[in-house]
Amino acid sequence: MKSKDCNMIFAGFGGQGILFSGKVMAYAGLIDDKEVSWLPSYGPEMRGGTANCSVCISDEPVGSPLVVAPDVLVVMNKPSYDKFIDSVVPGGKVFVDSSLVELTGEKRKDIEIYELPATKLSNEEHLEGIANMILLGKMADKVGIVPMEAVLKAVEKCVPARKAHLLEHNKRAIELGANYAD
């Protein structure tokens, strides 16, 4: 990974907030005055099954918004882990919701894999349904491509007005993830 750009894939089941996580990250890049792009999968998979999105954050204009070799992978289900794990560039970082994904077999040694029981934590902390934000918090903290304040500000941009009451929950989830011990 060049220090000036970061290509990410967020992947999981539809309904887990995968596209939303990516959108928050893209907005964080925008707030931090970076060039950004966000591209969702919109194929048959979004009509039930897996969802994913590509996010690029860079100092330069973004070329292809489709990420094929991610620096960062955030996964919330096993099919997505299996699909994308080999495409992560050496030295890349992977963030897994270990409540939902059981990693079996040999793990790649040339990348950093962070396993976080995000769904379990969300249930314990009364943050049901936003395990995605816990995982995002961990990722944003470890990757550091944008400052955490930008991520928290981005949530304000992305949570729609009719769900404003969930804003604090989302922020708390991000902070919980960021501060969760490795």
């Binding site: 893209a26 591209l39 919109y42 204009p61 070329g63 292809s64 918004p65 489709l66």
Partner: protein, 354 residues
């Protein structure tokens, strides 16, 4: 792009819709189809708020004929669809052209032929630039390659369509329509041009206007076509648009438009890092094709590489623009596959003898 607080993040489809509203479009007729649906959905939400009309027609054919009706009355009007839907609209587009009516048509291309697939492609190039319907006519075709440019070209497309009294098209694809990117909306400007030809009702205060494409007398129809041809000549003279990137000293120049041009640009950057003198020529108008600029470039480069999400539909236009003086290689993916910068780089390296 200017940096600052006014940058917003929007999907290409939604940005097209918002730009049209800001450009004074108050009439939208469409029929949903992936991957342009967010455009229609945005219009359905926003048009009522600005006192405009959003109407989901019973079919694409109905929608384009509603466009014809509204355009006849001199209104800024728009429709959008994706490849199979554009095929259905072609009859109406021909009638619009034959009636000398301005309008904006958006095509967010998907893979074909037939129902094809819903992933991005550029397989409508020949259709929209060569034969967007039956008869002797052309439409303006603009090919943005970023969400910002989608916005900018909406304003330009409406203005030029009205100036020349021709339909205009914005040709995007599923990648540009679905992706979000930062953008800045230009200063708001409303519709300006007077349309003395419009059928607006006149209480017998002037001779009546007739909007029509039927001319049963051959000499009259030929005269009509000749007059229209003169406007096309003016368009070809004045409206060619393109962008060049790192072409000053380039030996190998990639020619690509729309989403393919973004990918090609990344590949050109990588080629430069490897010491290959590569550049990019990006047509912004596909009709009129930027022949003047590409022809001039053809005088000084050794090799062109056409990169498309099709099987090579633009190659002939590159050859014609350069009078076949320079070899034109081709690399393309289709079926909904987006070429990667690595694949394009590999082609550049091959041509450079690496």
């Amino acid at each position: 792009m200017g940096k600052g607080a006014e940058r917003v993040l929007m999907k290409g489809n939604e940005a097209l819709a918002e730009a049209a509203i800001q450009a004074g479009c108050r009439h939208f007729f469409g029929y949903p189809i992936t991957p342009q649906t967010e455009l229609s959905a945005y219009m359905s939400r926003q048009m009522p708020k600005v006192g405009g009309i959003y109407l989901q027609a019973e079919s694409e054919i109905a929608a384009i004929n509603m466009v014809l009706g509204a355009a006849s009355a001199g209104l800024r009007v728009m429709t959008s669809s994706s490849s199979p839907g554009i095929s259905l609209k072609t009859e109406g587009i021909s009638y619009l052209a034959g009636s000398d009516l301005p309008c904006l048509i958006v095509d967010i291309m998907r893979a074909g032929p037939g129902l094809g697939g819903i992933q991005p492609a550029q397989g409508d190039y020949n259709q929209v630039t060569k034969a967007p319907g039956h008869g002797d006519f052309h439409i303006l075709v603009f090919a943005p390659s970023s969400v910002q440019e989608m916005v900018d070209l909406v304003f330009l497309a409406f203005d030029r369509a009205e100036e020349y009294r021709v339909p205009a098209m914005i040709l995007g694809d599923g990648l540009l329509g679905q992706m979000m990117e930062p953008l800045v909306f230009p200063e708001r400007k409303e519709e300006g041009r007077k349309k003395p030809w419009a059928t607006t009702g006149h209480q017998n205060s002037r001779p009546k206007n007739i909007v029509n494409s039927l001319y049963l007398k051959a000499n009259l129809l030929e005269e009509k076509n000749r007059e229209r041809q003169q406007r096309y000549e003016k368009i070809i003279e004045n409206e060619q648009r393109s962008e060049e990137y790192l072409t000053e000293d380039a030996e190998i120049v990639v020619v690509a438009y729309g989403a393919s041009a973004r990918i090609a640009r990344s590949a050109v950057n990588s080629a430069r890092e490897k010491g290959i003198k590569a550049g990019l020529f990006r047509p912004i108008t596909l009709w009129p094709y930027p022949k003047k600029a590409l022809g001039a470039l053809g005088e000084k480069v050794k090799q062109f590489l056409c990169v498309e999400m099709s099987m090579g539909q633009m190659v002939d236009d590159v050859k014609l623009s350069t009078s076949c003086k320079v070899p034109v290689a081709f690399f393309g993916r289709c079926g909904g596959i987006i070429p990667t910068p690595q694949e394009v780089l590999a082609e550049i390296e091959k041509l450079a003898g690496r």
